[in-house]
């Protein structure tokens, strides 16, 4: 019996080759694939159709919750819990609430941006099969990788290797699960 693998990984020298390879793989019909690069590549996002994610919505909600919480906290404390009557001035003194409302909006929006980013990326994830490829350490230095995962319906060990070889990579390696 053949050992199951996570996928097949091709290594490239430069971002252009990686983007072209990613496009070719998409055109071939592969869908369960990911690319790894030492810096963000705008074109790669297009090539892999990765534009849609919910982070902006998460940050918006975080901001709204932060703003409401900040305002209501001040309203509750100054009007209900600890009212101070200074010469009959209104207790609900909204102009003086603006700054703290602004700060809590920013605070919660920023925290939800970071936590949302981690959640959408599935991080922290100390182990991942790609780390089994020895040369993958270069993905954080100067090499570019394209990985076609075994769960792709079109995946076939022999034929996928053949396909990746046509993209002229430096090397194709199997990724242990």
């Amino acid at each position: 019996m053949i050992k199951p693998i996570y996928g097949l990984m091709a290594e490239f020298d430069n971002p252009t080759a990686l983007v072209e390879a990613a496009r070719a793989a998409r055109e071939r019909g592969y869908r369960k694939l990911d690319a790894y690069s030492p810096f963000p590549i705008e074109e790669l996002t297009d090539a892999l159709h990765l534009h849609h994610h919910k982070l902006p919505l998460i940050v918006l909600l975080g901001g709204i919750v932060g703003g409401l919480a900040g305002y209501l906290l001040q309203y509750y404390v100054t009007v209900v819990y600890f009212p101070i009557n200074v010469g009959g001035r209104p207790l609900h003194s909204w102009p003086s609430y603006i700054i703290i409302t602004f700060e809590t909006t920013i605070l919660l929006a920023a925290i939800s941006a970071v936590l949302g980013m981690l959640a959408l990326c599935g991080l922290p994830m100390p182990y991942h099969p790609t780390f089994n490829v020895p040369r993958f350490a270069l993905a954080s230095r100067n090499r570019f990788f394209l990985c076609i995962e075994a769960r792709d319906p079109l995946f076939d060990r022999a034929r996928t290797i053949e396909f990746l070889e046509t993209l002229e990579p430096r090397e194709v390696s199997e990724v242990a699960p």
Binding site: P15, T16, V19, A22, D34, A35, Y36, S37, P38, F39, P40, I41, E42, E43, L44, T45, L48, L50, H53, L55, P56, V59, L73, V77, T78, Y81, F82, I84, S93, S96, Y97, I99, I100, F102, E103, T104, I106, L107, A109, A110, I111, A113, V114, G116, M117, L120, C121, L123, P124, M125, P126, H128, T130, F131, F136, A137, A139, S140, R141, N142
Partner: protein, 458 residues
């Protein structure tokens, strides 16, 4: 099409000849090397000694109370608040570089944003010390926050001092988050490059398993932009709120509407001075002239000149509006500053903040790192004096001559102030030794090889 793009692209953000590999190795080697330069030991040692002085000063303060400082009625703010405003202002340049210049697509910032952000964090840490130590009973600092308590009291949300608590703590939190998110890909690089098992484990945990996946990068880029968009109004608001500590009061010299923009400009002014004061020695010791180029120094000097002119305008406006407004107390305040007991401080700050920086108009000065370093230090001194004059001279001579009293700084005032410089140096050089001081992945994007060549369109 291709030619057109070449025309619009900036000349060079970093020196030519770098590749993805050499950029990575050069920046990472500062951290991963076993040979630490003597310069690092000297600076870190100086920081450590001054940090011990700070701990001593704080110990004495805890034992005896704020009376060891020169605080006497009516000058109850003295050095503590001067240092607070000075430090928090210095922090602003880091956020400006990392957030505002990111939104404005100023790509040259990529090689100076990391250490400028670290500078922000540590400056805010130093700033935060002062209001807390100044409380009198610093161990009760948590009373500043609203929380359910058995005393049945809550902070006064109509007070600018409480606004300041929220502004500064939000600023510190958001700066730390932004800085950490920016570090993640570089921590992964260090994890993959180090041969030390302990270091690999530590960087591995901190990198959270970052692997440079395209899926992650796309979310990551959005997160960076959103954080920059959130940090931009935040940084402008923080010093505005700090200035509200003064403007909401009725003390002459404080109660003016132009203080917020004037404070923000002054903050960026002193912050860029600190960026230069740190970048110039660092790049020569670590041989990073190819990454932190003369163009970076030139641009920072130009920002300093521009914000310095705004500050100069504010000084002139302050004097003009006191005269034109016809308020006796405002006029007396300006007169006291110019000729009174603080005249030496006032005229030195004019010299440091208005006169001296005019040298930056000259290209020769901007391209000479030694002169730039000196003018950065001069601006830092000038901005400290500015806060000192605003706070102390206004309080010392307010409305009623019978209550006037002159502030004299004690040795513990100086020890606490110089001690926080030690805290700053200590933290900063620890950062230089343990984390990449230049954002590696962002510098990679500056290389010509990072551009994807499109065949179909050209």
């Amino acid at each position: 099409m291709a030619d057109e793009q070449n025309v619009h692209r900036p000349k060079t953000d970093i020196a030519p000849g770098y590749t993805f590999g050499t950029v990575t190795d050069q920046i990472a080697s500062v951290v991963l090397t076993k040979r630490t330069p003597i310069f690092w030991f000297i600076s870190f040692g100086a920081g450590l000694v001054l940090l011990l002085l700070f701990l001593l000063a704080v110990g004495v303060l805890f034992a005896k109370g704020t009376g060891i400082w020169g605080l006497r009625t009516p000058v109850m703010w003295g050095f503590a608040i001067t240092n607070f405003v000075w430090w928090i202002g210095i922090g602003h340049a880091g956020t400006l570089i990392s957030a505002i210049l990111l939104l404005l697509n100023q790509r040259w910032r990529n090689s100076i944003n990391r250490f400028a952000e670290a500078m922000t964090l540590f400056a805010v840490a130093c700033a935060g010390m002062f209001p807390i130590l100044h409380l009198g009973r610093p161990w009760l600092a948590y009373w500043l926050f609203p929380y359910p308590n058995t005393m049945g009291v809550q902070p006064n949300f109509r007070s600018p001092l409480v606004w300041d608590v929220f502004a500064v703590s939000t600023y510190a939190t958001v700066s730390a988050l932004f800085w950490y998110v920016g570090l993640m890909p570089d921590l992964a690089t260090l994890r993959d490059r180090t041969h030390n098992r302990v270091a690999r484990f530590a960087y591995g945990i901190l990198a959270m398993g970052w692997r440079g996946s395209a899926r992650h990068w796309s979310v990551y880029e959005t997160a960076s932009l959103l954080l920059a968009g959130l940090a931009t109004p935040l940084v402008l608001s923080v010093h505005t709120v700090v200035s509200f500590d003064f403007t909401i009061a009725i003390v002459p010299g404080w109660h003016t509407t132009f203080l917020p923009p004037y404070f923000v400009a002054g903050a960026i002014y002193s912050g860029f001075a600190m960026v230069l004061a740190l970048a110039i020695p660092l790049r020569s010791v670590y041989g990073l002239q190819g990454l932190i180029t003369d163009r970076h120094l030139d641009n920072s000097a130009k920002v300093m000149l521009a914000t310095g002119l705004i500050v100069a305008y504010a000084y002139i406006l302050e004097t003009f509006s006191a005269w034109y407004g016809g308020n006796t107390y405002e006029q007396a305040m300006v007169w006291h500053r110019m000729t009174g007991p603080y005249a030496v401080s006032y005229w030195s700050l004019m010299l440091c903040n208005i006169l001296a920086p005019q040298a930056l108009w000259f290209k020769k000065v901007r391209s000479n790192p030694v002169l730039l370093f000196i003018s950065a230090i001069v601006v830092l001194v000038g901005m400290w004096l500015e806060r000192y004059v605003i706070i102390v001279s206004s309080l010392a001579q307010d409305f009623l001559p019978s209550s006037w009293s002159i502030f004299h700084a004690t040795r513990w005032d100086w020890a606490t102030y110089i001690g926080t410089i030690g805290l700053f140096l200590f933290l900063f050089f620890l950062f230089i030794r343990l984390l990449p001081m230049i954002s590696i992945f962002e510098v990679r994007t500056l290389l010509p090889a990072a551009k994807v060549e499109e065949e179909a369109e050209s």
